[in-house]
Structure formats: structure tokens, C-alpha cells
């Protein structure tokens, strides 16, 4: 019999695009949005450093050495955040330092991501001795504590900006390799891969076009977190004097120079570290938001 059902079903306008769905999920996490905003600001500062920074980070103002920030007495409006031991403007150095750190972070992330994906996929697909060789090498890298290994590599290659990038890349490579390999192995068991193989897809194409897109979610999250880890590691190397050499305004080496001024000029010590902290926290919080938005299983109502 005909039923007059007062069932409330709204007509669908079509499923939201995956990008829109992702953004909606990401937006829910207010912390992540704040992190994104802060990180975005830092990126912009780094890119437009030449326009934003009041001075060059290398100019030394001999008459304005070790000035405190403008809000302390003795501070000058000319140098908003004060100056360091050689009279260089702190604000400018910090802004250019952002450029250096972000450059290191993103370089490390890009290189280790691309090499890591290739090695991980190779290990997952080729199996056998290639798999073993790659994974044993990764185990070896992990066996040595990260900073110790980075120190060793820099000791061999010599301290510089580029060598810092190389060292940190090697240290963090295993993570990407393991992640890719684990994801790929998980996907390999699925039927769409078998179907593609039967259809005659060649291994290379299979690796990159078929399987890789499905492994992306955890890789994206790891990449975001990888940038922050790389920044920390590079700063540590800089602090030990093994990174970018002065006068390059790298935040870690700025801290190393500031060590003697703990008592007399605390701002020289506080500010570079604060810059590192804020940058890394914003990336990490953003990465958390990314992870929650990309993997619905992890979300809980």
C-alpha cells in the first residue's frame, strides 16, 4: 500500500571534492589552523626577507653592540630586538635565519623523501636480497644515535651548510624508506595491484602510478614532521659549530655565539632559541592536524 512517508532525506548535491573534504576536516582542529597561520607567516618572512628585514644580517654596527630589545632600557627603536655581540641587528638575523632554517628543512625533506620513496618502493617490490640490503643499511643508520651520526658525517665532509643538509638527510632517510616500504607492502597484498599486474602494467609504472598514490597519507604527515625534525637537527649541528659557518645567520650557531652572554645579555640567548621553538611547534601542530584530517580512522567524535 502506498506509504506517505515523512522521511526526511535531503537531496544530495554530490559528494564534496577530496580537497574540500580535507580542508573541512583540517579546519576542525583549531590548533592546526593556528600552526598553519604561524608557519605561513614564517615562510613569507623567509621568502621576502630582503624586503622585510630592516638591515642586512651581516652589517656590524660597532657603536650599537649588545643592545637589548626596544622594550628594555638601553634599547633603541632602530634595533627592535636588539643587537648581538658584533652589533648586528637581531631582528634581521632572525628573519634571514628563518630563510636558512626553512631552506635546510625543506631541502632535507625533499631529498630524503624522494630517495626514501625510491628505496622503499624498490625494497617492497624487488624483495629478496635488495630488500635485505636496503633494510640492513637503514637499520645501521638507525643504530647510531642521530646527532652522533650527523657529527660523524660532518666531521668527514667538513662543516658547511650543504654538508649539514647531506648529514641530516642521511640520518632521517630510514624513516621515509621504512614508511614507504611498509605502506607499499600493505598495498601489494591488495587486489587492485594483482589486477594491474595481470593487465600487463610494467613494474616501474606499477610502483609509481598505481601503488604510490595510496601510500601518500602517512608520507605527507611524516614529511611535515620531517621538516621540523630537520630544522632541530640542523640547529643542533649549528650549535656545536658543525653547521653553517659564521657569519651565516643560522639560528643554532647564533645560540652558540650567545652562550657566554647568559648573565649579561639574556636576549641574545633567548631570541634565536625562541625562533626555533616557535617554528618547530607550528610545524608539528600543523602536522598533527594533517594526520588527523588525512586519516579518518584516527578521528574520534
Amino acid at each position: 500500500m502506498a506509504v506517505e512517508a515523512a522521511v526526511g532525506i535531503t537531496p544530495e548535491t554530490g559528494p564534496p571534492s577530496s580537497l574540500a573534504a580535507f580542508w573541512a576536516a583540517f579546519r576542525e582542529n583549531r590548533g592546526a589552523v593556528v600552526g598553519l597561520a604561524i608557519f605561513g607567516t614564517i615562510v613569507l618572512l623567509a621568502i621576502f626577507a630582503d624586503l622585510v628585514a630592516p638591515y642586512s644580517p651581516y652589517i656590524q654596527f660597532r657603536e650599537a653592540v649588545k643592545l637589548p630589545p626596544v622594550w628594555e632600557d638601553g634599547g633603541q627603536a632602530k634595533f627592535l630586538l636588539g643587537t648581538d655581540a658584533l652589533g648586528r641587528d637581531m631582528l634581521s638575523r632572525l628573519i634571514y635565519g628563518a630563510r636558512i632554517s626553512l631552506f635546510i628543512g625543506s631541502s632535507v625533506m625533499l631529498v630524503s623523501l624522494s630517495i626514501g620513496i625510491q628505496l622503499g618502493l624498490a625494497a617492497a617490490f624487488a624483495k629478496g636480497w635488495i630488500d635485505t640490503a636496503i633494510m640492513r643499511t637503514m637499520d645501521l643508520i638507525i643504530a647510531v644515535p642521530s646527532l652522533v651520526l650527523a657529527i660523524l658525517i660532518v666531521a668527514v665532509l667538513g662543516p658547511s651548510l650543504v654538508n649539514t643538509i647531506i648529514a641530516v638527510t642521511i640520518v632521517y632517510l630510514p624513516r621515509y624508506v621504512r614508511l614507504t616500504r611498509a605502506s607499499a607492502l600493505g598495498e601489494l597484498g591488495k587486489e587492485y595491484v594483482t589486477a594491474a599486474q595481470v593487465a600487463g602494467v610494467r613494474p616501474l609504472r606499477l610502483m609509481f602510478r598505481t601503488v604510490l598514490p595510496n601510500c601518500l597519507a602517512p608520507l605527507i604527515v611524516q614529511s611535515a614532521l620531517g621538516v621540523s625534525e630537520a630544522i632541530l637537527e640542523a640547529a643542533a649541528l649549528g650549535f656545536l659549530g658543525l653547521g653553517a659557518q659564521p657569519p651565516i645567520p643560522e639560528w643554532g650557531s647564533m645560540l652558540a655565539d650567545a652562550r657566554e652572554f647568559i648573565r649579561s645579555n639574556p636576549w641574545i640567548v633567548t631570541l634565536p632559541g625562541l625562533a626555533i621553538l616557535v617554528t618547530v611547534v607550528s610545524i608539528n601542530v600543523m602536522g598533527d592536524g594533517l594526520r588527523d584530517a588525512l586519516d579518518p580512522k584516527l578521528r574520534r567524535s
Binding site: 500500500m1 506509504v3 506517505e4 512517508a5 515523512a6 522521511v7 526526511g8 532525506i9 567524535s301
Partner: protein, 329 residues
């Protein structure tokens, strides 16, 4: 006196999408030695109602009832500590997935003995003795060895037996079994149900059996309560219910039983159980009911009299025909 008496139990969940009314107007009475079955599809609220009785719902749930009496205790008024004293002792519950309901990190003996220690305060030697007895009572052979087994070493049927042993360890007055056999093989199902009935006979406890299987109801239950979308739509003795179902939903459920089939194709109930967002106005069964007419979509029906199985229908069925007179509750 009945072991448990529940009148007008309602459970509402606060969720991101608004309040969700999972159970409305639930009534239940269980006498000693009686097996009452609660039947319904998924989403009918049958488990939620019993979880509310046990006090196992999350904080997002609001539980209201006119009466929720267990023995001489008013469950609504009891403190949390007092309720915990009852749970696992006089009032216990077993669940659907026995394999995951046991803690993988502790032995069977530990988990069984825990109940004895918490509620009866027995010492170690006495606990061990009773644990062995309990395992034997639920039909587990080689009980002594099983005490030191870990849950992952047990099969599904054995896990459920252990769960039953834990539940009856303190000789409860009421045992709630939430779909205890759904996850098990058919042959094991029969054994577990037999076990429950045997324990009932030995101890005189009441049993509430939640199930979606009408066949199980027919074999084991004295009385039946039928749930649909959170509401109680019929309540009667098993015999009466099967002989003459009064609510169209019950009739449709029975008609779908293979044993009752009269043609080659089993009759289906079209449509699906309404969720949170597509609740029809009026009677919730309207979209799927053969006998629905215009009043059904407008006004919510009240429950009919006991003679008509307290069916929640404007026109309860009598021998398959809807009665179009006004009936008082």
C-alpha cells in the same frame, strides 16, 4: 517478586550532530528462573537499554526512567560505588565477542579469580578451588590447566564459556546475555545456549537474552520483548507471540523465518531501520509497514493492552488482520 523491574527507560546520547534518542519507553520485568528475550535488528536499542541498567554507558549518555528497580535497590538512586558492588556479583552481563572480551594480558585464572576476590573476598587457595569448579561447571575440560592459559590460546566457544563462568561466579540473580552466540559457530551456539539454560535451572537466576535470531527465541525464552528503532513494539509470552503476533513488525519477522516459509521466496521487510536523521513522524515503522494508513504517518501510536501484546500500533493485528477500533493502553 520480580528480580528486575524497569519502567519507561530512555537513553539519549549527546553527539556532534545533536541529541540522539537511542532508547524510548523501555519496559522490562524478569521473574526468578525466567528467560526473557529482547529481539530486534541492529540499531533497535536492545543492547543500549541493558548497558544502561549495568551502568556501562559513556558519559555522553543521559539515562532516565520512571523506575529501575533491581531487587530492593533503586538503580537510579544508587551511588556509583554501590552499583559497582552489584555489577559482576548479583547482576552480570556477557557480551557478543568473547575473544576480545577477555584481557589478553592476564590468564583465565586471574580474570576469573578477580571476580571472586573483589566481590566475595576469598583467599587464594579457596579462589583456585572455586575457579576450577566454575570452569568445570561451564563444561571446560582439563580445568586446572586452563587456569594458566591466556585468552588467545582459547577458541571462541571456550572463551564464551569462560565469560559465562566469570559472570556466574558469584551466583547472580540476573544474567544479561548480549548476543552471546552471534559470533560463534552454529554447533557451538546450541551448546552455549544449553549451558545458559542449565545454569538457570541450577541456580534459579533470571536471564535476559538479547538476540536477533527468532529461532533462538523460540527455543529458549519464556517471554519476548520486540524492539524497533529504540522503541518497544511488542511484549508477550513466547508461545503467544509466535502463535499470534500483534505488531506488523513482529509478524514480518516471523514470516521471514525459513521454518514458516510458505513459498519458495522468503518474504522481506523492505527498507531499513531509521537512523538518527531519517526518523519518520508518527509511527517509526510506517515506511516499511504493509498495513500503514494515513494516521500512522501523523500520530505516534500508544501501546495496546496486555491482551494484544502491548503492541505499539494504531491497528494491532489479530490473526493477521489489523483491528481498526480504538484500543486503550
Amino acid at each position: 517478586m520480580s528480580i528486575i523491574e524497569i519502567r519507561n527507560l530512555s537513553v539519549t546520547f549527546a553527539s556532534q550532530a545533536g541529541a540522539f534518542n537511542a532508547v524510548q519507553g523501555f519496559d522490562l520485568t524478569v521473574a526468578p528462573n525466567e528467560v526473557v528475550a529482547i529481539v530486534g535488528e541492529s540499531g533497535s536499542g536492545k543492547s543500549v537499554a541493558m548497558l544502561a541498567v549495568m551502568g556501562l554507558l559513556p558519559w555522553t549518555a543521559t539515562v532516565t526512567a520512571d523506575r529501575m528497580r533491581f531487587g530492593e535497590h533503586d538503580l537510579m538512586a544508587l551511588s556509583a560505588a554501590k552499583r559497582r558492588q552489584l555489577a559482576g556479583c548479583e547482576l552480570s552481563m556477557i557480551f557478543q565477542e568473547p575473544m576480545s572480551s577477555l584481557n589478553p594480558c592476564f590468564t583465565v585464572g586471574f580474570q576469573l579469580g578477580e571476580t571472586l576476590k573483589t566481590h566475595l573476598g576469598l583467599d587464594r587457595a579457596e579462589r583456585r578451588r572455586q575457579c576450577i569448579e566454575l570452569l568445570q561447571a561451564v563444561g571446560i575440560t582439563d580445568a586446572e590447566r586452563r587456569l594458566s592459559a591466556f585468552p588467545h590460546q582459547l577458541s571462541g566457544g571456550m572463551s564464551q564459556r569462560v565469560m559465562i563462568a566469570i559472570a556466574v561466579a558469584c551466583r547472580p540473580k540476573l544474567l544479561i546475555a548480549d548476543e552471546p552466540t552471534t559470533a560463534l559457530d552454529v554447533t557451538i551456539q546450541a551448546q552455549i545456549l544449553d549451558l545458559l539454560l542449565r545454569l538457570r535451572k541450577e541456580t534459579g537466576m533470571g536471564v535476559v537474552l538479547i538476540t536477533h535470531d527468532m529461532g533462538v527465541v523460540a527455543e529458549t525464552a519464556d517471554r519476548v520483548v520486540v524492539q524497533y528503532a529504540g522503541q518497544q513494539v511488542e511484549s508477550n509470552t513466547t508461545r503467544e507471540l509466535f502463535r499470534d503476533p500483534h505488531h506488523p513488525y513482529t509478524a514480518a519477522l516471523l514470516a521471514a523465518l525459513p521454518e514458516r516459509a510458505q513459498q519458495k521466496l522468503l518474504p522481506q521487510i523492505p527498507g531499513v531501520v531509521p537512523g538518527q536523521f531519517d526518523r519518520p513522524a508518527g509511527c517509526l515503522f510506517t515506511p516499511r509497514c504493509r498495513f500503514a494508513f494515513d494516521l500512522c504517518g501523523k500520530a505516534a501510536p500508544v501501546q495496546a493492552g496486555v491482551g494484544l501484546g502491548r503492541a505499539r500500533c494504531h491497528t494491532p493485528l489479530v490473526t493477521g488482520t489489523p483491528q481498526r477500533q480504538k484500543v486503550s493502553a
